[in-house]
Structure formats: structure tokens, C-alpha cells
Symmetry: C2
Subunit: 327 residues, 2 copies
């Protein structure tokens, strides 16, 4: 009698930490391990730490490897999911590291690799705010801005697995030059970096913030702006509202191109979504084509920081035609 | 012995004319009929003319109906392809006309319905400039601007079958208000209407056009601007180049979102593509993320005005899993 392969492992490989979970088909997290990535120690050291984190989760939960359907890895950067290779990841300092293949060879079980925004979209689609919706866009706003797009129940990957660069959509063709070469990119208008820069710029222009005026300019981050907004600072709320407006313009573009039924917002900037999403929704209502916006759902991620790692584990479910996913 | 169903009929239902073709799996057009739509005579009259055009093609080619796999219809407007219904088509004056179902009931063969830009994308993908490329975007620029998007060999339809509204992407969040409610839409910058308006505006501002100065302003259309450009008019060439720039900004956004391998340009404005596409390509090279733009193909439609009607016929091939399509 064969053992039922009812569990999957997800690994969220970030520049700072490696988060690993063991998950069942209902999206219940059965085991969890977190460790530092320490990418400066080199690829082999990181590979060993990933292996270690997987073993740790299996040992702590007393689960046999035979019960695993496989392992899914989510990583930032440019990924070739067919070749299971990280082509380029700035936060890891990696170029052409076939991390998925290495894990597969070492562990002799199926491994899937995807970029973190795509993985988070899968997570939200299978078990999160987007459950039951086959046309879903996941948008992440943190230091950078990205997205994962599901159309008709399939990831929109693109020919090089590089689709979903929502942060590099121009909504201002004559705007500020972006590091990518484009002008007026959303990343320069709504990312955590952009929010911090907007606050610093406005303060330098003499605008008043009761909360921020005592803080050294170099200490002003999006997190600090968010805390100020929570503490009632109208200056900071205005900055977040403005980011919400720009995000709304970008989301309207996405709605017109993809006609999704749900958009899920995640990433650290969404910790203060209450100051951003109302403006997003208002902008979409004002600017969107009515037949496309009237029934759309726009929601904060309810998986939060687990969306990517859960979605990574979910990649295996997507790839297994024997699994009937009830979405 | 059953008769091989190796042929399909495509119907391009426009506000002015109904174009009908009989086509084989290689995309060879075996029969063709064209008649006026005359939408003012009502839905039933148009329905009868579609039936008549189908019969005409079958009779003229002496093909039995039993050899048809089915009929595909491409229509402008908002389409529900599952319900085979035109939800709204301004050029026909139709609301909620289940034209596909009516044809299917009447003829007792499978009928597929799609919007015209999606159909053209399918046509270019199966038999045109996009053959062999599973990540294709078809952009049409004529009176309006639209697109059909194929990702991983599947149409990106959206939940209401309304994806691909490329004409209503904003690249200028503070720009001119569009009829759709948005601001800075591509349709207001690159459509035939926009090109004519740009020419009229510049002339009213005292700019000189050797070719256009003798022409009554009310007679200036995108077609006239195109003719002027062909005749060497630098004023008109400049206007088309500017449209090419804006189109390039929009195309860069599409590349960043979809990571396609080919973009095909059609529609009447592309009759003078030699004055537009070079600027599109230059803008994409200047502004796009290099890893996404370095191998992309950008081509004028080689099916031209037949893309929609051939793609309509192709819809049946897509839906038939017995057909192995060599793309």
C-alpha cells in the first residue's frame, strides 16, 4: 500500500530569512521553521540552510518524507520556472543558480520554483482572499512593487517567466526616470521607498508634520510614515492617500487589461492599508470602465506574510493533475 | 464512414459589412462573401444576412455543411463568449443579442463568438505574424484602439470576457479625460481619431503642412494624414511619429505585464506603419526592461483585414481538443 502524498513544503527564500512551512491541501500550516539566509556566505551555504530548514520541519512534526508531494520554493528576482533556476536575484547576489534542480537532485522529490509575487498570487488564490476566483491579481507593495497574475486559473508567466512587472508600468510618460529605464513607473510613486522619499521631500519644502518633525530625516521610512499615520498625523495620511491614488491609477490599468474578479493587496506597505485602499477604490470607481469595475473585489491579503510561502507549497498542487482543487 | 470535419466558417460582423470566409486548417481561404450589415434594419435582418452569407459561401464552393466543424463569429463590442451573446455593440446598436445561440439553433452546428480583437489575435497566432509564438499580443489601432492577448496559448479573456482594453490604459494620469472616465488613455493619443485631432490642433496653432494646408479641416482624417505622410509631408510624419512614441510607451507597459514573445500590430492606422512602428520600437528599446525586450518581435499584421475573420474561424479549432494545432 502506497503512502498518501497529502502534504507539501513551501520555502520562501528571501535576502534576510528563509521561511519554511509544511502544509496540507486545506492550507493548514502543520510545521514551520525560520532561519537567517546569510547570502554573503555563498550559494552552497544557503542551499545547506534550505535543506536544514526542510529537515527541521519534518523532524519537529514527525512527518515522513514519503508523505510529501514535493517542495515549492518562492524567490525574489528573475526566475526560470521550467529550468528551476534563479536567473538573477539582487537580494541574494545570485546569478544562474539552479536551486530547484539542486534540491530535486539532493532530495529525490519534485521541486517547483517560482518568483515570490507569483507564489503569493497562488497562495491567495488557493487559500486566501482570492479563494474561489479564477481571475485574480495579487499586488505586493513593499520596498519594491510587483504582482502575480492568474487568468482563468493559470499563472500568466510570460515567455521568460517574467510577467507581472506591475512596478514598472508607466502612468506618467514624461515622469521621473526609473532605474529600469522607463519613466513614471509605479514603483517610483507607491513603493515604500517612494513613500519615504515623498515624506522627506515635502518636509524639506517646509510642510508641517506634528509627528515627524522631531525625527532625523535619515530615519524616515515608509514604516515610520505608517506609524505616524496610525498616530493621527495628517501629513503622513496625506502621503499614503496620494500613494493610494497612484496605485488606483495603476490598478485601473490592470482591470482594463485583465478584467479580473478580485485584486488582493499585500506587502509591508499594506500594514497601513486603511490609509491607502479607500483611495485606491475611489480612484478605480472614478476612472474605471463601469462594466469592468462594478463587481470587482479589492481586498487586503488575508494570508499576509504567509502568502508567498503557502503559495510556494501550493505550486505543487497546481502541477499535480490528480489533485482536484476546489477554487 | 463519417465525413471529415476539416473546414470552418468565420464571420466578421462589423457595423458596415459582414465578411464571411470558409477556411481549412492551414488557414487557406476557400470561399468568401461580403455584404452590407445595415444594422438600422434590425437584429433579425442582420441575422438573416449572416445566414445568407454563410449559405452563399457554401453554395459557391459546393461544400456540404457536414464538412464544417462549426462557425466562429467575431464582433465589436462587449461579448459574453460563454453565452455566445453580444452584450453591447455600439456600431450595431445591439444590447443582449444572443447571436451565437441563434445561429447554433438555426444551423445545428457549433458556433463560437468572440470580440474582434481577440479573434484577430487568434488569427495571427494560428496563421499570421505570430505563428509559433504562444505569448502573443495583437494590438489594433483604427478609429478605436484594442487588443487581444494570448498567454501560454490561451486567450486572456477575463471574468466578463472583457480583457484587453488596451485603448483605455492611462499613460498620463493627469491627462485629458477620456469618454470611458479615465484620463490619459492611449485611445486619446494614438487612435485614428486622435491622429486627426492632433493634425487639426497643430494646424490651428499655425504649424505648416505643405500637403494639408489646402484641405478643409473637416476633411482631415487619419487616412488623409497617412496619405500626406506617404507623399513626403514632414508635418504628417511628425504626427505619426508622436503616435508611435505614445504607442511605444503603452507597448512597454504591456511587455512588463505580459512578457510576450511577439506583438502584432493591425488596424487601419497600421496602413502607414512605416511611420509609426520604428518609433514604437525605439521607445520600447529606450524604456523597456532589457531582459524582457531583447528578444521580442514586433511586427505588422500579415493577415491585415483578414485577421479577425480568419481568427473567428480559428476559434473552432481552439475549442476542439481533437485538433492538434502546430504552433
Amino acid at each position: 500500500m502506497s503512502i498518501q502524498k497529502d502534504l507539501s513544503i513551501g520555502v520562501d527564500l528571501g535576502g534576510t530569512k528563509i521561511l519554511t512551512v509544511l502544509i496540507n491541501q486545506n492550507g493548514d500550516i502543520i510545521g514551520r521553521a525560520e532561519m537567517e539566509t546569510k547570502p554573503m556566505e555563498g550559494e552552497t551555504a544557503v542551499f545547506r540552510r534550505i535543506l536544514h530548514s526542510i529537515n527541521k520541519v519534518l523532524i519537529e512534526t514527525s512527518i515522513q518524507k514519503a508523505r510529501l508531494r514535493g517542495i515549492g520554493v518562492a524567490s525574489a528576482g528573475i526566475i526560470d520556472s521550467n529550468e528551476k533556476t534563479v536567473l538573477e536575484a539582487g537580494n541574494l547576489g545570485w546569478k544562474n543558480v539552479p536551486i530547484g534542480k539542486l534540491l530535486e537532485d539532493h532530495l529525490s522529490i519534485p521541486v517547483a520554483l517560482s518568483n515570490d509575487a507569483n507564489a503569493a498570487a497562488v497562495g491567495e488564490w488557493l487559500w486566501g482572499s482570492g479563494k474561489g476566483h479564477n481571475h485574480l491579481i495579487y499586488i505586493t507593495v513593499s520596498t519594491g512593487v510587483g504582482s502575480g497574475i492568474i487568468s482563468n486559473g493559470k499563472l500568466v508567466n510570460g515567455v521568460d517567466d517574467s510577467a507581472g512587472e506591475f512596478g514598472h508600468i508607466s502612468i506618467d510618460y514624461n515622469g521621473q526616470r526609473c532605474s529600469c529605464g522607463n519613466r513614471g513607473c509605479l514603483e517610483n510613486l507607491i513603493s515604500g521607498t517612494a513613500i519615504a522619499n515623498a515624506a522627506k521631500y515635502r518636509l524639506s519644502q517646509g510642510e508641517e508634520s506634528h509627528y515627524l518633525r522631531g525625527i532625523n530625516q535619515t530615519k524616515i521610512t515608509a514604516k515610520v510614515v505608517g506609524e505616524a499615520a496610525l498616530a493621527g498625523d495628517s501629513f503622513s495620511r496625506e502621503i499614503l492617500k496620494e500613494a493610494g491614488f497612484f496605485l488606483g491609477v495603476g490598478v485601473t490599468n490592470l482591470i482594463h487589461l485583465f478584467n479580473p474578479d478580485v485584486i488582493v493587496f499585500g506587502g509591508s506597505v499594506m500594514n497601513v492599508s486603511e490609509f491607502i485602499l479607500p483611495q485606491v477604490m475611489q480612484t478605480v470607481r472614478e476612472r474605471g470602465i463601469k462594466s469592468l469595475t462594478k463587481t470587482i473585489k479589492m481586498e487586503k491579503s488575508n494570508l499576509g506574510g504567509n502568502a508567498g510561502v503557502m503559495g510556494a507549497a501550493g505550486l505543487l498542487l497546481l502541477q499535480d493533475p490528480r489533485v482536484k482543487i476546489s477554487v
